[in-house]
C-alpha cells in the first residue's frame, strides 16, 4: 500500500475525481472508459510510494497520470475498436442536444489543444505551469493555446 490511507483517499476523491473524469472524458470520448481511468488513477495514487511535498504536487501528479492513461487507452483503442463507438460516445452523457453538439465539436479538437484549454481555463494553470506539467516548452504551450482558442472559436461559431 502507498502513502495514503482511506480517509485521505476520500478527501482526494472529493477534490479531484471530477477533474480526472473531465480530463479522461476529453481524451477518450468515452464515459465508461473515463470512469475506469478515474478509478485506476486513484488506485495508482493509493499504491504509489511517492511522498508528495504538497497538494499541488499531488494534483499535478494526478493530471499527469490521467493523461498518460488516456494516452495508453488511445493507443490501444485503435486495436480494439470492434463495437460501434457511437454507442458509447460521451455525448450521450449530455441531456440537452445543444450540449451534445458543442461537446462533439470540442471532441474534434486535437487532444493537445483540449488539454491545454482545460488546464488553462478550467484549472487555471499558467502557461509555464502547463509547460512544466506536460513537459513542453513554454512557447509550444502558448502556440497550442492560441491555436486551440482559434479552433474552438471557429468550430463553435460555425455551429
Amino acid at each position: 500500500m502507498g502513502t495514503y490511507d482511506e480517509s485521505s483517499l476520500s478527501d482526494m476523491i472529493m477534490k479531484y475525481s471530477s477533474m480526472i473524469l473531465r480530463i479522461a472524458v476529453q481524451n477518450t470520448n468515452d464515459f465508461y472508459v473515463a470512469e475506469d481511468i478515474t478509478q485506476e488513477v486513484f488506485i495508482k495514487l493509493m499504491t504509489c510510494k511517492k511522498a508528495f511535498d504538497n497538494e499541488n504536487y499531488v494534483k499535478a501528479w494526478l493530471i499527469k497520470v490521467t493523461l498518460n492513461m488516456c494516452k495508453n487507452h488511445t493507443k490501444s483503442s485503435w486495436r480494439k475498436r470492434t463495437v460501434s463507438i457511437q454507442e458509447r460516445e460521451a455525448t450521450q452523457f449530455f441531456v440537452l442536444p445543444e450540449d451534445r453538439y458543442i461537446f462533439e465539436l470540442i471532441m474534434k479538437l486535437p487532444d493537445k489543444y483540449k488539454n491545454v484549454l482545460y488546464l488553462y481555463y478550467y484549472e487555471e494553470y499558467t502557461v509555464p505551469e502547463i509547460a512544466e506539467l506536460l513537459d513542453k516548452k513554454i512557447n509550444t504551450i502558448s502556440t497550442w493555446l492560441r491555436r486551440a482558442r482559434i479552433e474552438l472559436k471557429k468550430r463553435i461559431e460555425e455551429e
Binding site: 500500500m1 483517499l9 485506476e40 488506485i43 485503435w78 480494439k80 449530455f94 513542453k136 461559431e157
Partner: protein
C-alpha cells in the same frame, strides 16, 4: 475571458462531474479493489516499483520465478565474461574448439547515417517463419552499442506506454523483444516479438486482444536527433492503422497520424520509407476489403518540424 466559445466550453465541462453519490461509489469500489488480495491489478501495481527493468515480468506470473532465475544466471555469466574475458575465451576454445564470435559481430550492424544499407543477414531463430524473409534495402538503423539500444528501446516503449513499468524491451540476437505482457488496457493482454532486422513480427501472444498484423519501424536521424517512426496495422472487422514518430532523446512523440487527421485517423495507413512516409487512405469496400489510394508523400523532417 470574454470569448463566448471559451465560456461555452467551461459551462459544458462543468457539467462533467462526479456528485457525492458517485464519489461514494468510487470510494467503495476502490477500497474494495485495494482490499481484495486476489486482485492481480494491485499486486502488479505494487510489484512494479520493485521489478527490475531487466527482470522477468515479461512472462506470465507462473513463469516469473523461472524467468528470474534465468535472468540471474545470464547476468552472472555476463559478469564472469566481463571480469575474466581471457579465462572464458580459453575455456571456450578448450571445450568448444573454436573462438567465440566477438560481441560486435553478433550484434546487428548499425549504420551511423540515415541511409538504406544492407545489414547483417538475420540468423534463423526458432520463432522465425518463412514470412520473415529479410529485405535488407528497406531498413535504416542507427548505431548504438548494445546497452544503449536496450536503453533506447526501453525508453521508447516507456514513452509509448508511459504508465507501464512492468515490461521490458531488450535486444537479443536479431530480435528486439518488446514484452510488456501486461495490460495495455486492462482488457487486453499482449506480448510481441519483433525481428530487429526486418522489423517484422515474429511471434505474439494474446489473451483477449485482437490481432496485430504488422508493425514496422525505422530509426532515423535528422539534424543529429534520433527518432523512431512506427507504423502499425491491425485488423479485426476491417483494418485499422496507427503511426507515430517519437524523439528518442526527449522520449516525446513529435508526430502522430492524429495530427494530420484528428477525426478519421484510423483510415490512414502509413508506409515508412527511406526519407519519409507514404500516406494511404483506405476506403472500405466491404468488411475485409480495403481499397488504398496514395494520398501524399511527406518527408520525415516536414512531419517532425511541423
Amino acid at each position: 475571458m470574454d470569448d463566448n466559445s471559451i465560456n461555452k466550453y467551461l459551462e459544458l465541462m462543468s457539467k462533467v462531474k462526479y456528485d457525492s453519490n458517485d464519489n461514494e461509489k468510487l470510494f467503495v469500489s476502490i477500497t474494495k479493489l485495494l482490499n481484495n488480495e486476489d486482485n492481480i491489478q494491485i499486486e502488479k501495481l505494487n510489484s512494479m516499483n520493485t521489478t527490475s527493468m531487466i527482470g522477468a515480468d515479461i512472462y506470465p506470473k507462473r513463469h516469473s520465478l523461472i524467468a528470474s532465475i534465468a535472468t540471474a544466471a545470464i547476468l552472472f555469466v555476463l559478469l564472469l565474461v566481463i571480469l575474466f574475458p581471457d579465462t572464458i575465451t580459453s575455456l571456450y576454445e578448450r571445450f568448444i574448439g573454436v573462438s567465440p564470435t566477438p560481441a560486435s559481430q553478433t550484434t546487428p550492424n548499425f549504420q551511423t547515417n540515415y541511409t538504406a544499407t544492407p545489414i547483417l543477414t538475420p540468423k534463423k531463430t526458432p520463432f522465425q517463419t518463412e514470412q520473415q524473409t529479410p529485405s535488407p534495402t528497406v531498413r535504416n538503423v542507427y548505431i548504438r552499442d548494445l546497452t544503449k539500444n536496450e536503453e533506447i528501446l526501453n525508453n521508447i516503449y516507456h514513452t509509448i506506454f508511459p504508465d507501464r513499468t512492468d515490461y521490458i524491451a531488450y535486444w537479443m540476437d536479431d530480435n528486439i523483444f518488446w514484452a510488456p505482457v501486461d495490460q495495455l488496457h486492462y482488457r487486453h493482454l499482449y506480448c510481441i516479438r519483433i525481428n530487429s532486422t526486418t522489423g517484422e513480427v515474429i511471434s505474439k501472444r494474446y489473451d483477449i486482444s485482437y490481432l496485430e498484423d504488422s508493425l514496422s519501424y525505422r530509426i532515423i536521424s535528422i539534424n543529429g536527433v534520433t527518432y523512431l517512426a512506427l507504423a502499425t496495422n491491425t485488423w479485426e472487422h476491417g483494418e485499422l492503422y496507427f503511426s507515430e514518430i517519437v524523439n528518442c532523446e526527449t522520449m516525446e512523440p513529435v508526430w502522430n497520424i492524429q495530427d494530420l487527421y484528428p477525426d478519421n485517423w484510423e483510415s490512414y495507413k502509413v508506409v515508412l520509407n527511406e526519407n519519409g512516409i507514404d500516406l494511404y487512405h483506405g476506403e472500405r469496400l466491404d468488411t475485409y476489403l480495403v481499397n488504398f489510394e496514395l494520398v501524399r508523400r511527406i518527408p520525415y523532417d516536414e512531419l517532425i518540424y511541423a
